[in-house]
Amino acid sequence: MAEKMIKPRSGLKGFIKKEAIFLIFIAIMIAFPFVLNIITGTGLNAGITKFWQGQLITFFIMAVFAMSYDLLIGYGGILSFGHAASFGGGAYAVALLLKHWAPNILSNYRITIGNLDITEATVLLVVFLVVILVSVLIGLLFSATSIRLKGAYFAMLTLALGSAIHILSKATDFHKWTGADEGLHGVPLPVWLNPTQNRLTVYFIALGFLLLCYLVMNRMVNSPTGRVIVANRENEERMRMIGYNPVIYRTIAFLSASIFAGLAGALYAIWNMSATPTMTSTVTTINALIMTILGGMGTLVGPIIGAGIMQIIGQFFYTWFGARWPLVFGVLFVLIVMFLPYGIIGTWRLRKSSIKNNIQKFFRLFSKEK
Amino acid sequence: MSDQNNQQDLLVVDQIHTFIGQFHILESVSLSVAKGSITVMLGRNGAGKTTTLKSILGLTPPREGKIIFDGMEIQGKRAFNIANLGIGYVPEHRAIFRALSVLENLKLAERKKGDFDRNADFIFNLFPDLKRLYKLPGNHLSGGQQQMLAVARALVPDNKLLLIDEPSEGLAPILIQQMMEAIRVLSEKTTILLVEQNFIMASQLALNYTIIDDGKSVQSGLMADLVNDPELIHHYLGASIKTRKELEMNHESQD
């Protein structure tokens, strides 16, 4: 009840009204493979339909990764260049466990009840928990360094730490396990989760993952804790005086962002059936950064749009501009930083009233009454 | 303001509005500084005195209003251009360059080569301490010495106008006397716009005054009139400022 006072539009109806655009987006995405199938008639697991499912799966996963970055940069005001460490950490955790540990277990013990493979389910659950554990550890590593450092120093430190992790991920010393430069390929997956055999399943898992992560993050940033994190960004000194320990809240921001990034990385590893050093490199972080800035920082929806633009438009750019399409993208990014610093969603929200006014003015031209 | 007055005024600030971020700091400040005199700006802490000085100099450019210096509109120009027209600035809190030696601090203020050599004797006569310390880095100076250096720095080029912000702040009484003396000597050479919390010092130095309150200029006139108006002093400058009687007593004891 008390919550109702704070949020005038709560409950299912309010939620639907508030998140209308996002829900419509989800609905379109659910219908997408089937509609495309009807149009092209190639079958759900073949041809163009399969290709675009793959594009969208990457988009969904990268959207979650970008959103987790938005938690850091947009809400926490923390500029970290080591976010790919969490993403890659999750990916490597999955790939390592599924490749080196799971086959042993699965070949030795196998318990099934009816159609349900208990061992397999347990193994997947354990893998899932390990991913979270790894992300938490990486998150703690980064947030521990942020206790003493701020701003530019911190950004440089995260870059160095992130690079160190990237170097480790491709170090030849661990070739036996990580595959060094080439990474881990051919990660064995259960048939129902195999993206080449059952792409539609993976498609809906990724979509569900995006939906779930969006809802959880949305709830988080609107919770009292989320508000303290935002307030921390604005004025740390003041929050300290009020009695909030900024370090704790920064750590919360780091840990949650790291967990979401780790999960996204894990799913990315499953979808590609591989984990490569690129996933831990700064380029991956910068991609997330570009997506976030493009869509708008501190909006959550923005990073999704940014990821979508980067993934989908990238496809078209590739056909238009060839292999060097990121050049066009880079120039676009520079222009956006200079002229639309709040991104697409941010700018739209800032100009919302004026856009609305213009639309109303436009309609008033056609109405006879004054 | 009549045209005749304009002739004698070196600086005229006409209803300027200054914003810092989204905060409206100055809401219509007007003042004028007559050529060859000391004008003092009075007001409570946070009234907008320092911002007024910075607005004149273009460090926080005003959004509205006019600033005329030496017959030329200077609002909206870059700070270094304004300074090069002949305005020296002595900021509050002794903002000297701590990484530079005394000599370097003074040399940095040169606008043309040879400015320092030309005025060195005058500066070192005014502040003999600095001559002794000229090789020391700025962060080795005491507070009083730093303040002297800050004033001396504004004397290196031949400025037509000096903007001096709270020269007595945090100084020992004997140093305040020395600083007052220095400013008096300076006023024979140039025009000075002074911000001063120490009313005794202000009343003894200045010919004219302007009171700034809450970002507006509320009163201006001859200092001699203000000293005789304890009510006005009390109203705008608060209880901390001593009444005339106390002032005189204080003055006598100091003499």
Binding site: L79, T145, R148, L149, A152, Y153, A155, M156, L157, L159, A160, S163, A164, I165, I167, L168, K170, A171, T172, D173, T282, I286, L289, I290, I293, R324, P326, L327, F329, G330, V331, F333, V334, V337, M338, P341 | L57, L59, G76, K77, R78, A79, F80, N81, A83, N84, Y89, P91, A95, F97, A99, L100, E104, N105, K107, L108, A109, R111, R153, P157
Partner: protein
């Protein structure tokens, strides 16, 4: 304890620790490996210093964290390498660039007249936009049909063929002058239009005193002459250059790399970074985007390949020099340093770093610019209030920092593979250096680079000895940074905030 004794004590302890560490390494590794590793460390440290010095100055003065610094290092390597192996790319584009610069430089001459032009506010807004659009159009037409990719085409030169073989084999073909002549002309017009727009015609808030026109005309006039000269020598110059002594060619390559870095830095600061000083967070994003663009541009021009630059003759003759004189006379590729065979080129890189350090010391302590920089690090506003154009100083410092990174790039050229991501590692190590040394301190950058270079060299040595990969040694440099940060969060030479 009073601060002075404390300071002396810390200094004494650190000196003892450093000597102890050096001695321990000496005992453990033995004389020969120790000297060799130390020299390698100095080579690396020299490169780290060249990158970090610019970073730290730029950060100290403007609070700008330049993430494009690594790309600028890379760009320096590419420019120098191009001039050294295939100068057609540079000479083919030089006239257009000079012509454009000449046009833009006329701003100072035009401005006092243009801002006094009486036009309505509507035109004041519209004219610059029209001028920009026309300038863009002229530039596009000027470059239309110019085969830039063809000019840039360069074969991957193997190191062994450096001295032998035909040096002219790399030259790309160029358009004849009868086709080319209008390109510089159009770029000059484009530059003039930009100058017109930048002057803000009719804008009364702008300030430009009418001074003598003649001294202002000197730079544009020089540029105009250079444009004409470079247009005329465009076809013959690459050949002449390639046939001249390789050592001189390398010197010109170094100068060109530094000059292009300087120019690029100045343009970047003036056009891209300056509007964002009020939103400093976005500068980081902008420099990131810039590094992205530079890398893609380089990959577009030269493909994502790794090139090998041949060493200039002074360092190319196979054999071992007995001493410095012997080397300078005969140009051996290695030199004997108390029993250790060491590549002479690396000695040159060490020399480069030391020269730049001395240059910086002189600049910072003896010149007015250095004085302004040191003052500006503390309080740029007050420097401006003294009548100094701080924005100009910002531009110069940014350009200088980038120029130094470019120098590092061309310095590294002959012994690192020249590839688009070659700057990444140096950017990261540069950041670590700056954090260790303390932001804004060039002495800190020098000491930090020295520490880091040694750590890398000895790390590699131990990794090899313990049969680990050098990647682990690279990753472990982060540990040094963390230790320094725990002991002194502001860095070794940083000032406490």
């Amino acid at each position: 304890m009073n601060p002075r004794t404390k300071k002396i004590l810390t200094l004494a302890i650190s000196v003892v620790v450093v000597i102890g560490v050096i001695f321990a390494l000496y005992l453990y590794a033995g004389k020969e490996p120790f000297i060799r590793t130390t020299l390698s460390g100095l080579t690396l440290g020299s490169l780290f210093f060249l990158v970090a010095a610019g970073l730290t100055l730029i950060f100290g003065l403007m609070d700008v964290l330049n993430f494009a610094h690594g790309s600028m290092f890379m760009l320096g390597a590419y420019m120098g390498w191009q001039l050294y192996t295939n100068p057609t790319f540079i000479f083919g584009l030089l006239p257009t660039i000079l012509a454009f610069a000449c046009g833009v430089m006329l701003t100072t001459v035009m401005k006092p007249y243009l801002i006094r032009w009486q036009i309505s506010e509507k035109w004041q807004n519209a004219l610059p936009k029209i001028a920009y659009a026309l300038a863009l159009f002229a530039a596009i037409v000027g470059f239309l049909g110019l085969d830039i990719l063809g000019l840039a085409k360069t074969a991957m030169v193997a190191m062994t063929t450096s001295t032998a073989g035909n040096p002219l084999s790399e030259i790309s073909s160029q358009e004849p002058l009868s086709v080319y002549w209008y390109r510089p002309l159009l770029m000059l017009i484009s530059g003039l239009l930009v100058a017109f727009a930048v002057s803000k015609p009719g804008d009364k808030t702008e300030f430009a005193p009418k001074e003598k026109v003649l001294p202002k005309l000197v730079i544009p006039l020089v540029l105009l002459i250079l444009t004409i000269v470079s247009t005329l020598i465009r076809e013959s110059a690459p050949e002449t250059l390639l046939l001249m002594n390789g050592n001189w060619r390398f010197l010109i390559a170094i100068l060109l790399a530094v000059a292009s870095g300087f120019l690029f830095g100045a343009i970047t600061e003036m056009t891209l970074i300056r509007p964002l000083y009020v939103r400093s967070f976005f500068i980081v994003l902008l420099t990131l985007g810039l590094s992205y663009v530079i890398r893609e541009l380089v990959q577009l021009l030269w493909d994502p390949l790794a090139y090998q630059m041949s060493r200039p003759p002074l360092f190319a003759q196979s054999g071992k020099a007995a001493n410095l004189l012997d080397w300078l006379r005969n140009g051996y590729s290695t030199i004997d340093i108390s029993g250790v065979t060491f590549p002479t080129y690396r000695l040159f890189v060490i020399f480069l770093g030391i020269v730049m350090f001395i240059f910086l010391i002189l600049l910072m302590t003896k010149t007015r610019l250095g004085m302004i920089i040191r003052a500006g690090v503390q309080d740029p506003q007050m420097v401006e209030a003294l009548g100094i154009n701080v924005k100009k100083v910002f531009t110069v410092v940014f350009a200088m920092g980038v120029g130094m990174a470019a120098l590092g790039g061309i310095g590294a050229g002959p012994f690192l593979p020249i590839q688009p991501q070659m700057g990444d590692q140096y950017l990261m190590q540069g950041f670590i250096t700056v954090v260790i040394g303390g932001m804004g301190s060039y002495v800190g950058a020098f000491v930090g680079a020295l520490i880091l270079g040694m750590a890398r060299a000895f790390g590699d040595y131990f990794a090899l000895k313990l049969s680990l990969s050098p990647a682990l040694a690279e990753a472990s440099t982060v540990i040094i940074m963390i230790i320094v940060l725990l002991v002194r969060p502001q860095g070794l030479f940083g000032k406490k905030e």
